[in-house]
């Protein structure tokens, strides 16, 4: 008689590994960097240095969390650096006019959201590729910042409450880092366990399917750019508060750092797949590499080369080795 048996369930460990391969690989990479710099420099593993690293990484992390949303929908926002610079400059100009800083913070956040929404409107409702829309934004917004400031740096005076945003500390942790952690936690929860997060993933995974089940696909696309604009405004304010001035030359190359951090964290540029945890690790990896190389007294110009090479190697490892088909002990027989 023929006997029918059920196939055994896959081991939970293997399922866990294959589903989180990207995050695990960047976590491994991050730890390797930390161990390497701890071993090669005396100062890396000191509290002061670590606080400094996270204070500097805060603006990147905030924008990277928002960028994760954008990239999960299959889009991209190249204009983040220019948005940060514009908010940075305009905030300084308005503060110099003597308006109270809490008002300026709120107005700038609203302004950032509006600029982001304009990008989203062109992308989602007018069907122009996000790459083009935000590339134009990159040029236009930086141009506005330069025009308004005439290229000068604008000092911010007598706003101690505002400076506390960038320089202060709560329980020994820098305020920008606390804000960044809060942003990351919110981003994590929203993507993982809210209806909106599910809609963002669905639109990135299969936009037509999302539309067919009645999701407001266009609005969701537009909204992620709005979030990006909001995050850029926050980052711009934190940078202005830390430096005590606003400049149109702030955050040059910022968009590349942010996108590198997100991609390093395993978020797919094709959309649908991405995690906030990966983005946090990606951001910290880039920050640690930049900081560690300086502490090793390697030329700051060399940092860029190393950062770029490490991104390439990490992504290469991600795509070639830590793929969904990877298995312990069976990785070699292809």
């Amino acid at each position: 008689m023929t006997t029918y048996t059920e196939r055994a369930k896959g081991s939970p460990a293997a399922d866990f590994f294959s589903e989180h391969a990207q995050v695990l690989s960047i976590a491994f990479f991050f730890l390797a960097c930390v161990l390497f710099f701890s071993a090669t420099t005396d100062t890396f593993m000191t509290l002061g240095n670590i606080l400094n690293v996270i204070r500097q990484a805060a603006p990147i992390l905030i924008v990277a969390v928002a960028m994760t949303f954008v990239i999960i929908t299959g889009g991209i926002d190249l204009s983040v650096g220019s948005q940060v610079a514009l908010v940075n400059a305009v905030a300084a100009i308005i503060l110099a006019m003597g308006y109270p800083w809490p008002l300026v913070v709120l107005v700038m956040l609203a302004f950032g959201a509006l600029v982001g929404f304009l990008h989203g409107w062109f992308t989602a409702y007018q069907g122009i590729p996000a790459f083009i829309v935000t590339l134009a934004g990159l040029s236009i917004l930086r141009g506005f910042a330069l025009y308004l400031t005439q290229g000068y740096s604008i000092p911010i005076k007598d706003a101690p409450g505002f400076f506390a945003l960038g320089r202060g500390a709560l329980f020994g942790v820098p305020v920008p880092a606390l804000i960044a952690v809060a942003a990351a936690v919110i981003g994590y929860v929203v993507i993982k366990s809210t209806k909106y997060g599910r809609q963002v993933v669905a639109v990135g995974s299969n936009m037509e399917a999302a539309r067919r089940v009645g999701m407001p696909a266009k609005w969701i696309i537009a909204s992620v750019y709005l979030i990006s604009g909001l995050a850029c405004a926050l980052a711009g304010l934190l940078i202005a508060a830390r430096l005590g001035s606003g400049s149109s030359n702030a955050a040059v190359g910022f968009e590349l750092q942010v996108i590198a951090a997100v991609v390093l964290g395993g978020t797919s540029l094709m959309g649908g797949r991405g995690t906030i945890l990966g983005t946090v690790l990606g951001t910290l990896t880039i920050a640690v590499i930049g900081n560690g190389l300086i502490l090793m007294h390697i030329s700051p110009f060399f940092t860029q080369i190393v950062t770029g090479a490490i991104i390439l190697i990490a992504i290469w490892l991600n795509t070639r080795i830590f793929t969904a088909n990877f298995r312990f002990g069976a990785g070699r027989n292809r």
Binding site: G10, D15, S193, V201, A202, S205, A209, R273
Partner: protein, 267 residues
């Protein structure tokens, strides 16, 4: 091309005795539906009635307009001309959400699943159960298990992403999604193309079961033998028009094949 010389007789839906159902109001009634994509006339004036508790088989050659017609009923495409009446009310869908609100569900040929979302998430796509702003994952998981068990679909791990599943399992999920939320009209575009023997049987049994509950089913399939097991009526499409309608008892495989390839028209 045939498209250029429109056959008036075909447009008005003649060609074979149109089966009458006196006394029963159609659940969905299409009149003079036209749809053009660029210069391609996908539908050239189609009339079709679907009654409660019946299964209508929609057959035709490739590119005959079957999928386009069903996508119009499900609100995915907006017709250029013609009227849609649902339960006596004239409706104008502005998108798929409108049709879904009227309990018109569709299994799409491309399945319309989100590969990066797990099985549970796909079953509840667009209908997520939430507690406040948060997804109620526990309830959805339990409900999803019940939904799949009811359809005898076996998927071991419901938290697996859909991209990891086989073609048949994916198709089963798409069917479960459409069939599980009390549809009044269930449209299935090639639902069994990737299914194994037992699963095809399960789908055919499902169609008979939902029919008994009064659901109107529209089935598109190239497996003509399946039509004779579940359908009450068959509509044949040819080059964007409905060329014939047959009661299942008054036709056979040969007759259908002849209507599909359009031998009648060529003579």
């Amino acid at each position: 091309m045939v498209v250029d010389r429109q056959n008036i007789e075909a447009v008005t839906g003649v060609g074979g005795a149109s089966p009458s159902r006196a006394g029963v109001a159609p659940r969905v009634s299409l009149k003079g539906i036209r749809k053009t994509f660029g210069s391609h006339q996908a539908l050239r004036g189609v009339d079709l009635d679907i009654f409660p508790g019946e299964c209508l088989g929609l057959v035709g050659d490739n590119a005959a307009g079957k999928s386009t017609l069903t996508k119009i009923i499900s609100g995915t495409y907006i017709p250029d001309d013609g009227t849609i009446t649902v339960e006596g009310q004239a409706v104008r869908f502005s998108g798929p959400a409108d049709a879904r609100n009227l309990n018109i569900e569709m299994v799409f040929q491309d399945l319309s699943l989100c590969d990066h979302i797990d099985v549970v998430g796909n079953l509840f796509l667009g209908r997520e159960i939430s507690k406040g702003p948060f997804l109620d994952t526990g309830t959805m998981l339990a409900e999803a298990r019940k939904m799949l068990d009811a359809l005898e679909i076996r998927i071991p791990r419901l938290t697996a992403r859909v991209e990891k599943l086989s073609g048949g399992q994916r198709q089963a999920i798409a069917i479960a999604r459409a069939a599980s939320f009390n549809p009044k009209v269930l449209i299935m575009d090639e639902p069994t193309s990737a299914l194994a023997v037992a699963e095809v049987e399960a789908v055919l049994a499902l169609i008979n079961r939902v029919k008994a509950k009064g659901v109107s089913v529209i089935l598109i399939t190239h497996r003509l033998q399946d039509l004779f097991r579940v359908c009450d009526r068959i509509a044949v499409m040819y080059e964007g028009t409905k060329v014939a309608e047959r009661d299942i008892g008054k036709t056979d495989l040969e007759d259908l094949v002849r209507l599909i390839v359009g031998e009648g028209a060529k003579q």
